[in-house]
């Protein structure tokens, strides 16, 4: 059975996560896909490499989904995050949220992405023309 909260080294298919939250009660599915960006403030990224503490990351994704259910009881959530080497424009993360009406799906989706950036043990290494470093530890 497909995992609702998944960290994987395989390419992400947004349709898989959308399918997991699609149901007759849900009139809205908000899907966010995060992609590898080539240009950031004039610096060129050649590729990225993500690393995770996989079992803890999947547990925290599940905890975040529980937080969503407290704030938006009618929401259903599926999240996939990719690890390993990624190329420009590859999908790094998929967040799919279904709710009966659209407003809650947008809000819950945004909440999940903010929480991922706070607490989920996943790290991004930027490989650029002039070197490579872990995001958050750049020497400017």
């Amino acid at each position: 059975m497909d995992k609702r909260y998944e960290v994987t080294d395989s390419p992400l298919d947004p349709g898989k996560y959308i399918a997991m939250v699609t149901r007759p009660e849900a009139g809205a599915v908000a899907t966010f896909t995060g992609h590898v960006r080539e240009w950031t403030k004039g610096r060129r990224t050649l590729s990225l490499a993500y690393e995770a503490y996989v079992p803890m990351a999947e547990r925290i994704l599940e905890t975040i989904a529980e937080e969503v259910k407290v704030k938006w009881p009618e929401a259903e959530v599926a999240v996939g995050h990719r690890i390993g080497p990624l190329a420009i424009s590859d999908i790094a993360v998929v967040v799919a949220v279904s709710t009966p009406h659209r407003h809650a799906s947008y809000e819950a989706n945004r909440f999940i992405m903010e929480r991922i950036k706070e607490d989920v043990p996943i790290w991004k290494k930027e490989i650029q023309e002039d070197g490579e470093w872990w995001k958050g530890e750049e020497v400017q």
């Binding site: 995770a52 503490y53 995050h81 993360v93 991922i116 950036k117 043990p121 790290w123 958050g136 530890e137």
Partner: protein, 77 residues
């Protein structure tokens, strides 16, 4: 024995993804002191600690068989 896990910049600083450390008991803070002795080049800026996959404070007691993971600032998404 406890198992200690290193990720991202800490993995590069220690040269290890994980190691086993002899443990007679003590707090997470004491594990960090031990790791600093073993790997003086590790930077602790913004590092959080997880005990058995849960974020914990440095006063938490660590027992033999536990898994301690050091979590440098995360950058998922």
């Amino acid at each position: 024995m406890i198992q200690v896990l290193y990720f991202a910049s800490m993995k590069e600083a220690s040269g290890l993804a994980s190691e086993r450390i002899k443990w007679q008991g003590g707090t997470l803070g004491e594990v960090m002191e031990k790791v600093t002795d073993l790997h003086p080049s590790i930077s602790w800026d913004g590092v959080r600690v997880a005990l058995n996959e849960e974020f914990c404070s440095g006063t938490q007691e660590v027992e033999s068989g536990d898994i301690v993971a050091f979590i440098p600032p995360v950058s998922g998404g």
